[in-house]
Structure formats: C-alpha cells, structure tokens
C-alpha cells in the first residue's frame, strides 16, 4: 500500500468503471478499427477520434503528471485501463505525441513550450511524428547528417529523414539535427520541433511489406524553424533523445498485448479451422509461450513497481523490449501456423473500419498474415534487438 494513498484503491470498482465507459464510448466502427489493427497503428481516423473521446473524458494521457492533464492513477490503475482498452478492442491513437514527445516536453521543455504543445498533443488535434532515422543513420543514429544552421532567430534545416512513421498524417515532427559538425558526433546534435506546414518540407510515403502505407521519407530543403522550437539546449539533443528512447522501449506494456494473443491461441487450439492441431508440438509451444509471457509479466511488474510515475526505467527497458517483441513474434508465428493458407489472402479494404462485407479469409484470420509480417519490424524499430543486447552488455553487465 502506498503512503500517499492511505485509502486502498478498490481496483475492481475502478475496472468496472473503465469497462462501463468503454462499452458506452466505443462505437462498432471504433471496435472494428481495434480488431483490424495489424501494427502499433490502427486506422488513423479511428485512432484520432478515439483520442478525442478519451480527452473529453479526461483520460487523454493517463501516464502524464496530473498538472499536465494526467489522471493521477497509480501504476495498477493505469495497467487496468490499458488492459481493458485492449480487451474491448479500442483502436490505438498515434502515440508519438503522448507516449514519446509528451514526457520530453514535460522534462526538458520551457514553460512556453509546454503551454504551446501539450494541449494539442493530449487532445489529438496535433499529430506528431518522430524524425530520428536517416538513410545513412539507423543503429548508428549519432552519425545523422540533417543539419540546422543558425540564422538570426531561426535555424535553417536541410537533409532527409526516413522510416518516419505516420509523417503523412502528421502536422508536427520532432527531429534530431546536427548543429555542430566540429565536435564528437553525439555532442553536436540538437532536438527541434518543426511545423510540417513550413515551406521546404516534402513527405514521400511508401508501402510496407504488408502492403499498407505507414512509413515515409521526409525531405527538408532550407526549412526555417524558430529557435524557440529548440527542446533542451543547443547541442544537448542526444541527452533528450536518449531519455525518449528509453521511454519508447519501456513505456509499452507488452504483456497486455501478449495475453490477448494467447487468448486467441487458446481459442484456436480447439477450433476446427486450426491447421496446426495435428502438430504434436503445437500445444507444447503454446504452453511454453504462455509461461514466457508470465515471466515477462512478472518482470514488468518488478521493474515498474520499483519506479514511480514519470521515472525512466533506464537500461532495464532494453530487457523488456527484447523479451516483449520476441515473444510477440512467437505468438504471431503460432497464429500463422494455425491459420495456414487461409491467412494468405491480402485484402487491403477489409482492414478499413467501415468494411463490413465478406472476406476471403475467415474472420479470425483476416489480420493474421499482416500481424506476422509486422511483428518482424518490432525488433528493428525503437532500437534493434542487437542494439538492445549491446546496451545490456554495456550498461547492465558492464562489459
């Protein structure tokens, strides 16, 4: 029990309250958008609508401090909320603003920046994308080449960013840019907040392997950005970014999604359509996966339990990220085995929340292949599994 919270929270009542709200607030279209989510992003419009509904309820950013619009819930309540949203098939709003930039602004931003940007993030009116990676700088992010040169009260930005998820839907981008070429790479990087409507920005979307469009390349040609849009000090961008990356890695509750995958697997185990039910190892592999999910859940609780809201989980977030993403990949493999040929149809229109017609794949398999494909990206974005293992070796094992 928490000293600042002497009355024990009645979590079951809390859960019921969340459930009642979700039942009421989630339209069939929103639920379909949730069900037909095949990556971390749901249908864009549905996710945006859902964010505005959550915001109206005062639940727009439960992880934020209460003075910036947070809910004041404890860790357990936040977990219950996320779990119920997942179980009710709520769509995922684009989360770069709320999950990634918000904590940075709160930590590093000036008062004026917080006032300017936080309200638009929590309401969902502003959509943010993350401009870190470049064609030549992925794992070796510090080698990035997009430059920002100071010209009076403005920076002039030139260069290109790639794999910028959702840039084609975003009106703001937070970027890492080079402001000093003379010093060691990490020491010459700054963190800029850029309005996508600024002249000189071009966005080129391209299809992912599942055939959907989520990724973009963003080009900057003499883009003028006011110096007041610098987050943190000039040349301190690496420190800001590192803080953010750890949030990105540890800030997800992998086990909520994993448990949902497991319940799908359990349903499939007894299903007539399960292509893998004759595989003698299948049930064992499902059970082993379940045990690994339990181990991860207990680890998440152990790590989160020792942190208070807003704290940064540090290098341990790498452990959770590697385990969570690789377990997600295992679940996706088990699901594709059970679906067999029925998962091979690719019908893009079916993924739209408006679609209510017939599907070539059976209902429970329409997203299976896309989920399997997209599960492969989870060990690449947000710092690859190899880079995470490197962080553990260096910062946990001290090698």
């Amino acid at each position: 029990m928490n000293a600042s919270n002497p009355i024990p929270t009645d979590y079951e009542t809390f859960r019921e309250g969340v459930r009642a709200f979700l039942k009421d607030a989630l339209s069939p279209e929103l639920v379909r958008a949730g069900e037909r989510t095949t990556s971390v992003f749901s249908d864009f419009e549905a996710g945006r609508k859902w964010q505005s509904i959550l915001h109206a309820k005062g639940w727009g950013a439960p992880e934020w401090p209460i003075e910036h619009g947070g809910t004041g819930w404890d860790i357990q309540q936040r977990y219950i909320f996320l779990e119920e949203c997942k179980l009710a098939n709520a769509p995922n709003p684009v989360m770069m603003g709320i999950q990634m930039l918000g904590p940075m602004l709160i930590h590093f931003g000036t008062e004026a920046q917080k006032q300017q940007f936080l309200p638009g993030i929590i309401s969902g009116d502003d959509v943010w994308c993350q401009g870190y990676s470049e064609p030549g700088s992925g794992s070796d992010l510090a080698s990035l080449k997009t430059t920002a040169e100071r010209d009076g009260d403005e920076y002039v930005v030139n260069g290109t960013k790639i794999w910028t998820s959702m840039a084609h839907h975003s009106n703001w981008i937070f970027c890492l840019v080079r402001t000093d070429k003379e010093v060691k790479p990490q020491a010459g990087i700054s963190f800029l907040l850029i309005d996508m409507a600024t002249p000189g920005i071009t966005v080129a979307p391209f299809p992912s392997l599942d055939g959907e469009v989520e990724q973009c390349q963003v080009f900057f040609e003499n883009v003028r950005v006011p110096v007041t849009n610098l987050l943190g000090e000039e040349n301190q961008g690496w420190t800001v970014a590192k803080y953010l990356l750890e949030f990105e890695r540890g800030g997800q509750h992998f086990t909520i999604e994993l448990k949902k995958q497991l319940s799908k697997l359990h349903r499939l185990m007894t299903s007539e359509t399960n292509r893998a039910k004759d595989d003698p190892t299948y049930a064992y592999r499902v059970a082993e996966t379940e045990i690994d999910v339990m181990a991860l859940e207990q680890t998440e609780l152990r790590i989160k339990g020792s942190l208070s809201a807003g704290d940064n989980p540090g290098a341990l977030s790498s452990l959770v990220k590697v385990s969570g993403t690789e377990l997600g990949q295992r679940c996706a493999e088990l699901l594709i085995e059970a679906a067999g040929q029925s998962a091979i149809p690719w019908q893009s229109e079916v993924l739209s929340p408006e679609y209510t017609g017939e599907t070539a794949a059976p209902a429970e398999c329409v997203t299976t292949m896309a989920e399997y494909i997209n599960s492969r990206a989870t060990t690449i974005y947000g710092g690859t599994a190899e880079i995470q293992r490197g962080i553990i070796a260096k910062h946990v094992l001290g090698l």
Binding site: D140, S143, F206, R275, D279, P280, E337, I344, I380
Partner: protein, 369 residues
Amino acid sequence: MAAQMTEDQTLLKDAAERYLRDSYDFNERRERIAAGHYSDPTQWQAFADMGWLALPIDEDLGGLGLGAREMAILAELCGQFLVTEPLIEAMAVSHAILGNSAQKESLLVQVAEGTLIPVAAIDEAGEAARLSPTTQLTEDSGQWRLTGSKQWISAGASATHLAVLANSATGLAWVLVSVDAEGVSREIYPTHDGRGGASFKFDVTLDNAQIIATGEIAQDALTAYRELAMVLSSAETLGATQAALDTTVDYTKQRIQFGQPLASFQALQHRMSNMLIQTELTRSLVYAACDAADDGHADRGRFARAAKVKAATVGRKVSQEAIQLHGGIATTDEYIVGHFFKRITALESWVCSKGEALKEFMALPAAQH
C-alpha cells in the same frame, strides 16, 4: 557448396537461370501484381517454349520424361526469382494426376504447349474436409455431376483448369474442370505472395472424359501428388531461402554503420554462418528427396516429408533473420528480401503444413536395409 548435377541438369539450370535473370524483373513483377495480373501469359508461353512445361511429362506422351530432380531445379529458381506463375502446381498436377486420364495424350499436349494451366483443388473450409472432401462426384442416369466448393487455392487466379479432389460412391475421385465452365464460379483475391488465390463453387455436369481417376487410382494419385508437391515446395522454399541469404550477405557488406560494414560485426557474421549451415542441410535433404522419388526408393515418402519439414523450418528462420539483419529497409515492399519471406510463409502451409508432414513422417517407418 556445389550440388552434384549431370551435364543435362547443369544445362537446364544455367539456361533457366539466365532466362529468369534477364526476363523476370522484380520491379516489373511488382507493378504487374499491383495491376491485378498474377501471372503473365507471355512468361507462361516462354516457359512452354523452353520446354519447362513438357519436362515432367512422359516421353511417350510427347514430353521430356524428366523427374523430380529436374522439376526441383526449376522450382528452386522459381523461389529465387519469385515467379508467380503456377509452375510447381502445373508440374505436380501433370506429373502425378493427369497421366491417369484416358485422355492423357491430348491433355498433356495442351499442358506442354501452355494452353492448359492445371492447378489442384484440394482444400476446403474445415479441417476434416481436407483429405476427405465434401465436394461430391455423383452419377444420375449416366450423367456425372460435381457439387461442392474449394477454398484458398493458391494460384487459383491463374489456372485455366482445376484438378478437383472429390468424394464419390467409389471413394476419392479426381475431376478436371475448366474454370470457365458453366456451373463453376471463381472468386479471385490478391495474396501476400503475389500469386493470386481463388475460392471456387461447383455445380457442374461432366463428360466422362473429365473424370481422371476414381477409387484406388485416385488415392494413389493423391499420394503421388502430395509427395511431389512437398518436394517441389521444399525446393522452391530452398531457392527463396538461398536468395534471402545471398541478399543479406551482399547488403551487409555494403551497408556502413558505426564507420564499418555491418558484415564486419562478429555478432552478425555468426548469424549469417548459421543461416548458411541450415540452408546447406536443407539442400541435401531436398535433393535426396528428389532422388528418392526418381528412384522409387522405399523411403521416398519419408524423404518428401523430411524435406518439407526441414525446408519449412529453415526457410522461416533464415527469412526472418534476413529481415532482421537488413534492418528497416527489409520492411518496405519496394525491397526484395521481404518478398522471399512472404513466399516462404505461403509455401509453409501449401498442400501440407509442417505439422501434418511431421505427423505423417512419424507414422512412416524407415525401410529395412
């Protein structure tokens, strides 16, 4: 590691590889599929002109009379070049099923010429129906009728004819129907591997000539078809697996991060070494399964299933690793390596899943020596 091939096999492989390298461009393929053309009629005609479609047909029926080893050479290249035309389907059907038909001469000539593109239709909704179909062949005062439905037929979009597995009063039956025949409805859909699938409904009256085989002959044809399909899908998986590995090795030599090529990181070198080890082990088993099939070896059924299991396992692992070692670039549809992954995934459960192959393998005792 070189595979042992006869001079004729080497000639076949070199010519086919040269053709596909020159004429089967990845970007053209992408555009064609996006436009809804899952197979290219001029490619199919070229395959016919090069003798690929005649290759599995007996010499006395006007074919080249070659075996699983030669078919596997083509299948491997299909994997390497991501061929979307139903070549392994057509080879397996013409070799294992159509030869039983009383009309085999005329049918197989059409296959060899490229005018008849046969695909087998076995799968139905519901697992129990897979090898004991609910699709019925019935006779009513001398008139044959086929009723039922088939689902998720890979390359169903490109077939001109289906070899349909049905149940009849005398057990299993194979029936040949044109996809355009009255009473056949076809629902085509795009697929993640670019092949274009289809589901079919039948309520068709048939000529005697359309009934290819019934009873024990049909059962034997099913066994022969499945085993050949397992071998050819393993070979195609192998080709795609090797190509995924080669692409990864090339890319990691070019891509610089932290001031050096990715390929210089020992952590990645070991991963690629494992990919190579597993691919070579698979290759041995696939070629052995071909030889066992061609020699009529008592263990050919075991080898077919062993090849299927090994190729499915290794193909999955290697293509996953190929994506991981590329990083972000592998996750765009514009880059080739993810297409190997998608095709390998589709092949994993084509005709028979890895689990089914494992179970069948366990039920087949090794022959005594």
